[in-house]
Symmetry: C2
Subunit: 275 residues, 2 copies
Amino acid sequence: MTRSQLIAQIRQKRSFLCVGLDTDVQLLPECVKHLPNPVLAFNKQIIDATHDLCVAYKPNTAFYESRGVAGWQDLVQTWQSIPGDCLSIADAKRGDIGNTSTRYAQAFFEEKSSGMSFDAITVAPYMGSDSVKPFLAFNDKWTIVLALTSNEGSADFQHLGSENSHLFEQVIQKVQTWASPEQVMFVVGATRGEAFKTIRKLAPQHFLLVPGVGAQGGSLADVCRFGITSDCGLLVNASRSIIYASNGTDFAERARDEAMRMQQEMAIELDKINF
Amino acid sequence: MTRSQLIAQIRQKRSFLCVGLDTDVQLLPECVKHLPNPVLAFNKQIIDATHDLCVAYKPNTAFYESRGVAGWQDLVQTWQSIPGDCLSIADAKRGDIGNTSTRYAQAFFEEKSSGMSFDAITVAPYMGSDSVKPFLAFNDKWTIVLALTSNEGSADFQHLGSENSHLFEQVIQKVQTWASPEQVMFVVGATRGEAFKTIRKLAPQHFLLVPGVGAQGGSLADVCRFGITSDCGLLVNASRSIIYASNGTDFAERARDEAMRMQQEMAIELDKINF
């Protein structure tokens, strides 16, 4: 999915919501647990209930890998279940030396190799250029580089360096020399509020993938105040607050309610900028 | 495998060699390609031919993930094939927010979850403490944190910061406040020669996992000159130079020759320190 196609979807759905499919087998509703393939059944019902309200789905690979081969099968089938009008993001946070990163790119982008062809993957920048560039070699795919994450530990290393030259700022600056806003997004946690101001100075056009609204406590209004652009430029992710909105038989309905609540807030933000 | 068990293996085998099982299906010898499960058959023959000469095996997960479910099955069976007297390292370079890193730890450490229980995993530090600590919660397992890697791109971010306070140095210092040398190792590329001096000042006791000897051009003598400790403190990895020493029917024999050549160099280095 290209940048202009993504922007068109946001415009049509009045939403920049990404639903995180961090499906934890232990947290599944009882009514799903007895099914032959509970994780896939759950994901499909969540997708059915929310796909008109969001523009992206983001399975985090850890929740699938933790169940070995069976989990990896669920990941492939979950990718197959994501509708074509939604951006599919493998939240994998991969990164290795060049020839190895190429293998990771094949794992998530090349259906003939791995059975999956996500539109986008998240990538960790620690190992530098040759760990990121192999992902950029795939046409019409997105590389989403970790910049400033939403977790407590983000302060340990991402803020190293001097004023205006913290690690996360250097990541944003350097990655822009490798690829355009048509190919690259950055991860910026919603819990970082005012940091969006700084980041928008460095990356005025890039889409930002924003986790941390919902269960992690970030505010959508703050993210939009400092982060929204004339092209929207935001994908705001919610996982647990949507997919575990209920653990009863009404889990899909309640997930839809929560996705709709967020979509409606997003529509208001888009109206504000006459998008 | 505990630190003292690892040191005992090094002493007994006169070797601190780690064989990287970065098994690329396109580079397999013709004689293996026709077998029902070529990657696994190849790995087993490599292991059979080298296990008395090395103390660790390190499959890089990218080479398995790139083939989807079939590759993941091969990874599980490769783990099962690593003998108990060798440290098994999942070179996965994972890292995510706390609850998600726990899932990655289960993927590689918890057999009842995933079918695999490696002795060690490589971890990327970019996301900080809560991305690393979940791995440390597993008893008798090793967390091997990326510090200064062997690739060209390592200069992009790992050297940021001021003299004596580069990112890789801060990673080494901070991670030591979270865990002891019984639980943590660091990745330091062999191509970094003199950097081992600096690193040994910061981490005099930790084992270092050293890629980059062999195909990437690092020198074993340089690594030992600056990096070896009274407990050895090194695991030196070679992948391509061993596993692709020949692509004929003699691939396992030639792999053994190359592993033996390295083991003999290592024995000389161990003699030098009266280990």
